[in-house]
Amino acid sequence: MNNPAPVFRDRLPEPMGLMLERQKTVEFIFEGERITGIKGDTLGSALLANQQWVWSRSFKYHRPRGPLTLAGHDANSLVQLPNEPNALADRVPAIDGLDVTGQNVNGSVKKDKDAVLNHFGRFMPVGFYYRAFYKPKGVWDWWEKQIRVKAGLGIADLKFKPEYYDKAFLHHDLVVVGSGPAGMMAALKAADAGADVLLLEEHTLLGGSLAYSEFSDCNNPEQLRQELMAKVRQHANITVMTEAVCNAWFTDNWLPVLQGKRLYKVRAKQCIMVTGAYEQHVVFRGNDIPGVIFSSAVMRLMKLYAVKPGERAAVLTGNEDGYLTALMLNRQGIQLCAVIDMRQASELSHTEKNLVDQLHQKGVQVRFGQTVYEAKGSQRLEFIEVRAITSPGEVSASLETIPCDLLCMSAGYMPAYQLICQAGGQLSYDDQRAAFSLRNLPDNLYIAGSVNGIHRLSAVMKDGERAAIEALNALELSDEAVPDVFCDQKVNFHWPIFKHPKGKDFVDFDEDLQVKDIVNATRMGYRDIQLVKRFSTVGMGPSQGRHSALPTARLVAKATQRTVSETGVTTARPPLTPEKLAYMAGRGFDPYRLTSMHYRHLELGAKMIPAGLWMRPAFYPKEGQRLTGSAASPLLLQARNIRNACIENESLHVRTKVGLIDVSTLGGIELRGPDAAELMNRIYTFGFLKQPVGKTRYAVLTNEQGVVIDDGVACRFDEDHFYVTATTTGVDNVYRLMTFWNTQWQLDVDITNVSSAYAAVNLAGPDSRKVLEGLTDLDLSREGFPYLACREGFLNVPGCEHKIPARFLRVGFVGELGYELHVPSRYGEVLWDILMAAGQPFDIKPFGVETQRLLRLEKGHIIIGQDTDGMSHPSEVSLGWAVSKKKPYFNGCRAVDIVMKRPQTRKLVGFRLSAEYLVQNQKPEEGHIVLSDTGSDSSITGNVTSCEYSPTANAIIGMAYVGIEQSEEGGQFPIRVDGGSVVMASVVSLPFYDKEQTRQEA
């Protein structure tokens, strides 16, 4: 093709357009118009190449807004994509066929019907929504709807298709955040010394300012960039991630990095933040009109995208970057109608004077000590009004009005401080340089380059190396002396704020805040910068104060007669950039545990519920009653009825025949050694020294405050061997406590947490002995293996030679004749299978944990954590019998002694209610409160901890804490149930079932 496509003609010649692949075009739609760009364009650069300078409307006044930073740092560039609101037009690549629209508009960005709000500014003073719309009472409900429509940002697509987001972990010696000249130098220096380096770059191109900016001490930054980049890319010790945002800093250099659809959790031994600096705007009336733009943005536009930024350009500067921009514009053939320096000619450095001379040689005159006082234009800049600066912020009468369509601002820089302040760095303001600098960095974190206040390229590169040397020394990879880096380049103009009586002199573009808004906030008493922010909303918009923090600090300092350092800036909190919830919601790494019989429960259709980290069967519904999804919600009557029926049937089955439950989730701790009994004795409340071998004993554990925190069964298999069970969720705590004390006591005992090494079942019911008889050689008779005995033995596997080693415990558990069998986990499924097979002639049925709770409640057994709370001492839960009064010490003994001597105020009692209350929907539930009496001035004396309908007792039974005066057997106490009605429960003695304990001892 000899004829270039029409779109090419508008663009600047190479080497401008670093991002572009000039042979390929892209087409997308913006606000219904077809926009043609070149491959490599962002939406924004393509729009500007097509003379579309209005991108959005402002938040409050609906003023037209266009490009400002072209770096994705401002809110002007927010546009709506089909499935994504608040996309940054200057960052999103132009893609064929994309349908892009404006946001926050009533109509289109060019013709926004709400633009009329621009003329009602005086009715919307700072904080107006805190002050208006609230009277008369209730009117806010109406106003809120109107304001939400007018002040909203993009629209979320509620029909979006879920996408896959993931997480990954990375570990590096050194992470360098930012790949500008200092970043690349730091990475190379460190990598050369052998450090494993990760280099992060937010943009597509490596090189930071080298890619787009001009430097007074470097003629060919692109060549330098290519050289450094080649070295970085080829270095075996450097990993490079582009389009990767380090979105926060957390303790010890824990860095969340967002790239694509992945959240990287990066841990760095050392970290160098080379985050650069944000260019700052000049505050004057109309400084938001499209065409008023940062110098750096114009450079990006030309160098990266070869877009001609305008026909007649003006430059307003307070540093040498303005001159470099002017020279670049001149080289690209753009007419310079004014170069305005806010400083006096005498303030210029030698370098800057050279640049002025260069401009003179091109026929461009520079105005000194002047500023733009007002910019005018409706949809694009048309004129600037220039005035002389008489004193800081004050100007003379109008000097001249100059027609132009582009105004480049260079008023200085603000270090990209957010991540560093999150790390504990502090900003302090240097009046001489009129700039913030960062101090007080934590260990293992360094800063370099412009974020460190160093702007001259040669010094920036040295500063990168300097930071690398510091990191290398900390890594012990070098012992080089840390060089001093010096840079005298002053980049900030001290007072680039020119208040206009008619306002629209914007401090914060996101929130449409003008000078008077900030000043008025201080006059209303909000002197603290944090309060000014909250009242005026300055810095709360999408650009998070990148450009408003510095002018706000200056204005508040001046208005409150303090220094800028004293005023400071508002706290920068994570995340740095808006973070999609998908990054958080992506694949989680939550651990869960399954017992070795888990799949047998699934085959039987069990309803599974979580218990700690484990999954346990709650009950086993019949075929046709297995509800899933929302139908299984316990809030639904059908689901409740199925549950109740299941646990009734299962409990009756255990009481009359035989049942089997998986209790593998029980904790188990093995104690072996000569001092095993001594350790048991010092930890648990009961005496264990004289526990006979082959016997079990109930074990209660209290904490240092004398509160019951765990219970279990201690089995003594040998003089020097205990096996003690603990609650499912408590075992880790028990193990920790035992090892904690033995670290200090140094007893001769081995403590091992064997919870997951054993699978266990409880075989319970009058027929359980018959089921087990054929499976073991142990004497199972009442005399040979009595209640509370424990044995080690084997289980025969029918039809096979193999025997399973097993521990047999005869414990009460559900109050029937029963055996608890503990076997190595790998035999869990076999154990289940052989017991279910052997039990078939006796109609064995599995039962779940909900049924187990009912059965144990019928026996008056407490469940730690359900029937106890953070205050329950042994007497309150009637476990005084399990506390040895004689032995010198157990964990928490002194506290137990003290609290148990005090007059007791409450007690856990069993209560009973007629089953009729079920029909009336007045069954007490866990957590319902117990009242002192039924009168209107009654007080709360306790609460219900467990309550269930017991088919065996044909009554509602439960346990509740009641006042000590209510705890007498035969008395009654009121419970307030759902709906507010009060039922009277009768105190009964425990257990509810088989008071003589004959069944479990059978």
């Binding site: 010890d252 193990y735 010490y889 002194r894 506290a895 003290i898 001597k901 005090r902």
Partner: protein, 110 residues
């Protein structure tokens, strides 16, 4: 997330560790209730370096860390056998007195 160096396993994320309180010997069993109440409920909350118990969950290992309460900097971590001699003696002292005697408490104040 903070990193702590386990004397047994090296540097690990802090969420692998469980805090075990300040290293303080138990009061004497004969000590008054007040002393036990203070030991149980009051802990010094001033500035300076504190010696603390920490537990590495994954390996079941208790060790000692010295931490600056002002900066939250972990100064060093070590095995309990390397605890300062005075602390170890105090612990053993309580041990010796504690076990093998009957326990007594004071009468409750009215």
């Amino acid at each position: 997330m903070k990193v702590m160096t386990c004397p047994l396993n090296g540097p690990r994320n802090i969420n692998e560790f469980v805090f075990g309180g300040e290293v303080t010997p138990l009061p004497d069993l004969q000590a008054p209730d007040q002393a036990w109440a203070e030991h149980t409920f009051y802990s010094y909350n001033g500035t300076g370096v504190v010696r603390e118990w920490w537990f590495h969950s994954a390996s079941g290992y208790w060790f000692v860390a010295e931490r600056d309460r002002t900066t939250d900097q972990i100064i060093k971590t070590y095995d309990p056998s390397e605890l300062a001699a005075d602390i170890r003696t105090a612990m053993l002292d309580v041990d010796r007195k504690m076990f093998g005697v009957e326990r007594k408490t004071e009468e409750v104040a009215p």
